[in-house]
Amino acid sequence: MITPELIQALLWGVAYGCIYILLATGLNIIFGVMKLVNFAHGQLLMIGAYIAFTVATVFGLNAYLAILVAMGAVALIGIGVERFTFRKVLGTDKLNEIFVSLGLIYVFENAAVLLWGHTARQIPSPLQGLQLSIGEGLEINDRLLAIVIVIVILVSLFLLLKKTKIGLAMRATSQKSTASMLMGVNIEKVYVFTFALGAALAGASGALYGIIFNFSPTIGALPTIKAFAIIIIGGLGSIPGAIIGGLLYGIAENTAVYFLGGVWRDAIAFALLIIVLVIRPTGIFGEKGE
């Protein structure tokens, strides 16, 4: 039963999961602090991939340094999005947030088509053509590096949330926004920062996605849903939950593809999501019911 191919599928699953963990964590932070679900989050991933692609090909920057550029640029876009769209509808009907996200999806996807065209792209990796073997059967490749980068980003995120003042303010706001407002937290600033942070994570995951996979302007929709599945599996608002959920999800998807075939890839994502929602609506690590 256990074949090298299956192990390969598992490893792929972990790498795959890592990219989704970044995306899901961003979505989760925004949800935790702002109680807002940004359905256009996957489109930020797509924009991040294109920005990294442009920086890497036009300016010849190392693809892994381009990740930082993508994070910064997508964070700026995130600030604009929060300021001009979501802030206007926050606290009104929940359906309005879904409508705004849908409008943003249309805007981002078509802006990407206009700027970069329909052609599938891939960010040229600096590791291309290199054979860096470390021990038997193991070699450094983009997937392994992606796992390392995701770990680094998650550790820095953890430090940001636990050790800095803005992190404290974010945690306070996520618990009770009115009380933290009374304690002198500038809620609007926290919201902008949170959205920019979530967007930056999406930008980073986009750059990693672009190094490993082909991408085109329409790739954003499925990652959003998968990230959503992951935070539901892991539990809303829980970052460790998102990490474990992401790993579980990546592995489940890739082994399922291995056993059942590629056409089921996306349907499996949803089947998993629906099963979790039916059996345990609060997620595996979720604390309180939503």
Binding site: L95, I98, P281
Partner: protein, 350 residues
């Protein structure tokens, strides 16, 4: 249950009597007369490519609107459009049943699947429901494509028609649209519709005053998916050739956009929204070449800037409507109408 039914029927009867005396009634009567009398004088293209889709999408958008009026925003309604379309066509072809009966059987099956999906969805809040309905639509399209030997979904096939395309089909769609929208109107104005509204505003409070929220949300699902299936059956006939692309997310987002632009939660909103979007879709492509000549040189990456630029505009339009006119364009039309009427009255009194 019996008592509530009698009460709802009573309230429906009262509403009809009141309504038939109101001015709105005559307005609608006049609009209907125009819609019935005008088409024979229009070109075949306008009737079958613009007016008929408008009616079908008015049913489809109204079904979405009914579900949204209970606070449940579906992002996977294309699943029911597709089920209605495919099943009614398949039944008619494989079992040799008259297409009109197949149309109803397709809608019933869509409604049955809507019931099953609703069972999982009624416990979920806005975002989860949106995701899960989207998820179900992906699962259903996967099933339809996997069972290609039976469904023929990937290659597609011509659909059997109830009546000829053109004017006869237009009048049939009109009859279906009028009956369906009236039915949904009556539901939304009845006690059931009141429960939907209460659930939409605050589910917890609705529960506290004794509304069985799960039951009513499920009712919304069943009614909405029935009419979405009906619209799907008609749509499959109007485009003549059904194909797996009917499950495209585009068709899931379409009714949402129509409702938001026309006015969510109102009966006229989806109709106006459908009229606006279908008109845009049928007439705007004609400016593609002009657009390309105008700004094509700025965006060298695309061969034709028309379609993405138009969709981008649609997205911006949606954002502007949601942020600045959350009730859609209907209040604007009403205001203009009242303004015109008042100024007309002043003219007379002078």
């Amino acid at each position: 249950m019996n008592q509530t039914l009698i009460n709802s029927l009573g309230s429906i009867k009262r509403k009809i009597v009141n309504f038939s005396r109101s001015q709105k009634f005559y307005l609608i009567l006049a609009a209907m007369a125009i819609v019935v009398i005008l088409p024979p004088f229009l070109s075949n293209y306008v009737v079958s490519e613009v007016l008929t889709p408008m009616l079908i999408f008015a049913i489809y958008a109204s079904s979405w609107n009914l579900l949204a009026s209970s606070g449940q925003g579906s992002l996977g309604h294309a699943a029911f459009l597709g089920i209605g379309g495919f099943v009614s066509a398949l039944i008619a072809i494989k079992l040799g049943i008259p297409p009109i009966i197949a149309l109803f059987l397709g809608s019933l099956l869509s409604s049955a699947i809507g019931f099953l999906i609703g069972l999982t969805c009624v416990r979920l809040k806005a975002w989860f429901l949106a995701m899960v309905t989207f998820g179900f639509s992906v699962i259903i399209v996967t099933i339809f494509s996997e069972l290609d030997d039976f469904t023929g979904a990937i290659m597609g096939f011509p659909t059997p028609l109830i009546v000829d395309r053109g004017l006869p089909f237009y009048y049939m769609s009109f009859a279906f649209a009028a009956i369906s929208i009236l039915a949904m109107y009556l539901v939304m104005k009845s006690k059931i519709g009141l429960a939907f509204k209460a659930i939409h505003q605050n589910e917890l409070e609705a529960k506290m005053v004794g509304i069985n929220t799960g039951k009513y949300r499920l009712i919304a699902f069943v009614i909405s998916t029935f009419f979405a299936g009906l619209a799907g059956g008609l749509f499959a006939q109007s485009i003549r050739y059904i194909h797996v692309s009917v499950f495209d997310p585009y068709y899931s987002f379409l009714p949402l956009m129509m409702c938001v632009i026309g006015g969510l939660g109102t009966i006229e909103g989806p109709i106006i929204g459908s009229a606006i979007i279908v008109t845009i879709d049928s007439y705007l492509p004609r400016i593609d070449d002009a657009l390309h000549g105008l700004v094509g040189s700025i965006f060298p990456a695309v061969s034709n800037v028309g379609p993405p630029l138009r969709t981008l505009g649609l997205g911006l339009f949606l954002l502007v409507i949601v942020i600045f006119a959350p009730k859609g364009v209907t209040p604007l039309i009403k205001k203009t109408y009242n303004y015109l009427r008042n100024s007309l009255k002043e003219e007379k009194s002078k």
